[in-house]
């Protein structure tokens, strides 16, 4: 999947993944695709749950080793 923007937050812990994802989405246009890459375990679920709750579309969640990736489309 191709993303319009990539946010690499590997090495960041609570609450930075959530906060940086929201900050990034605020600067993007509606309909654009963001890929968030991180390795803070609980944030994989937290980022996807919160962004889904805010109305953004979760397109794909995957894991490779300790890293996870979330593709989402801005509302």
């Amino acid at each position: 999947m191709d993303a319009d923007e990539i946010l690499d937050i590997k090495g960041q812990t609570c609450p930075v993944p959530l906060v940086e994802t929201r900050k990034k989405l605020n600067k993007m246009e509606s309909g654009k695709i963001l890929q968030v890459i991180g390795n803070h375990g609980p944030s994989k679920k937290e980022v996807s749950d919160v962004m889904k709750d805010l109305g953004h579309e979760i397109l794909e969640i995957s894991e490779e080793g300790e890293n996870w990736s979330i593709f989402l489309r801005k509302k």
Partner: protein, 138 residues
């Protein structure tokens, strides 16, 4: 209607300043409108350089404990209080300094950081709190 949350910050200790700002930034990221009301010793955190001076409530050991905790936090890449405040502000968190406490302790507006949105009292706090689903005192 957007969900709302308020946090009253009573303490200038690092171990209270952190959860207050983490909750505020996290909630704002989750689309919740947040109001933070800093009063009594909490007001010290809004003074210029105040976040950097925050001590631990336990095991501070004349600053040695704090230095150890800060070192561990740096190793784990925990965000600084300054970054959390900046992020909270970017995501729309409102910061109120208690005007009455400022009078009691002789704190001037000029000595406070520019991130403070309002100098106000119980009326301003309650206007937000009565609309909020989550009201915390830290």
């Amino acid at each position: 209607m957007a969900k709302k949350m308020t946090i009253i910050v009573l303490s200038d200790e690092m171990d209270k300043a952190y959860p207050a700002l983490i909750l505020a930034a996290g909630a704002a990221a989750a689309g919740i409108e947040v109001t933070m009301f800093y009063t009594f010793w909490g007001l010290n955190l809004l003074k210029k350089g105040g976040l950097a001076k925050a001590k631990l409530s336990k095991m501070n050991m004349l600053g040695l404990g704090r230095a150890m905790v800060k070192k561990r936090m740096a190793k784990l890449n925990v965000a600084s209080l300054e970054k959390l405040l900046s992020d909270a502000k970017e995501l729309g968190v409102k910061i109120i300094a208690c005007e009455m406490t400022m009078g009691v302790f002789g704190v001037t507006k000029e000595s406070l950081i520019p991130e403070v949105d309002e100098l106000a009292g119980v009326g301003a706090y309650l206007a937000d709190a009565k609309e909020a689903n989550i009201n915390l005192v830290i």
